[in-house]
Symmetry: C2
Subunit: 139 residues, 2 copies
């Protein structure tokens, strides 16, 4: 049962299993695109969970801090989030229609090792997003 997995997941990171959090995890689990705060608020309303923006922001912050979610920025002036236990991937953002696709690219841990060797900097995470025209928007 999906809900119990989410309860366990929250317990693992010492967070209480509240309706809002469980519902946000539900949304994260079934959405392919990284979600933004308004998507979460809309989904909570649709599921009949009373909520407000501050709670959603706080939830996304704590989930990210605990490593459950990843922060994604697509140069929109707002933050998006996705589950961190998905296969490592990056995003293709269409500058015309705004669609977001996942893409698996070559592992860049090789780059990170090289950076460590050459500069001493220890990379813990990276962000790599691609912007351009999706198949449909190229005319």
């Amino acid at each position: 049962m999906e809900v119990n997995e989410h309860k366990a997941e929250l317990k693992n990171v010492n967070l209480r299993a509240t309706p809002a959090r469980l519902t946000i995890l539900k949304l994260l689990g079934r959405t392919k695109k990284p979600i933004d705060i308004n998507m979460a608020i809309d989904f909570l309303k649709k599921e009949g969970i009373k909520t407000n923006p501050a709670t959603v922001f706080r939830t996304m912050n704590v989930l990210t801090q605990k490593g459950v979610t990843l922060l994604i920025q697509l140069q929109e002036g707002k933050m998006r989030y996705e589950l961190s236990d998905r296969e490592h991937h990056h995003h293709l953002v269409c500058e015309i229609c705004g669609n977001i696709e996942d893409v698996l690219v070559d592992d860049i841990s090789r780059m990170e090792k090289k950076i460590r060797r050459k500069t001493g900097f220890l990379v813990k995470r990276h962000s790599l997003e691609f912007f351009g025209l999706c198949k449909n928007c190229q005319n």
Copy 2:
């Protein structure tokens, strides 16, 4: 003379050479880190140029739109900019001290070609930033 280069640069992209713009180009030319709006405002004040935030935002927008500058986002909730005619590079952002280093990494145009071949998506630009601990902050 530096200023005349900037005047020419602005003329090339059909923008008028105003004191604010010339001074922002001056700052961009001498700064290694991508600048944010407040850095620009502070520099303008220091140079005795009367200004206000709206003008600086408009300037950075038009410069980016004309291709003179690149928009850089380092997951800070604000935008940064750097000159686009510099050698292609990425950034190492220290999560402890906040320092930003440039880094030259392997060309990822190979990835972009692969993406085109596999998905049909035409990549026009990408953002790749690394987050972690700089040499000094690793104890």
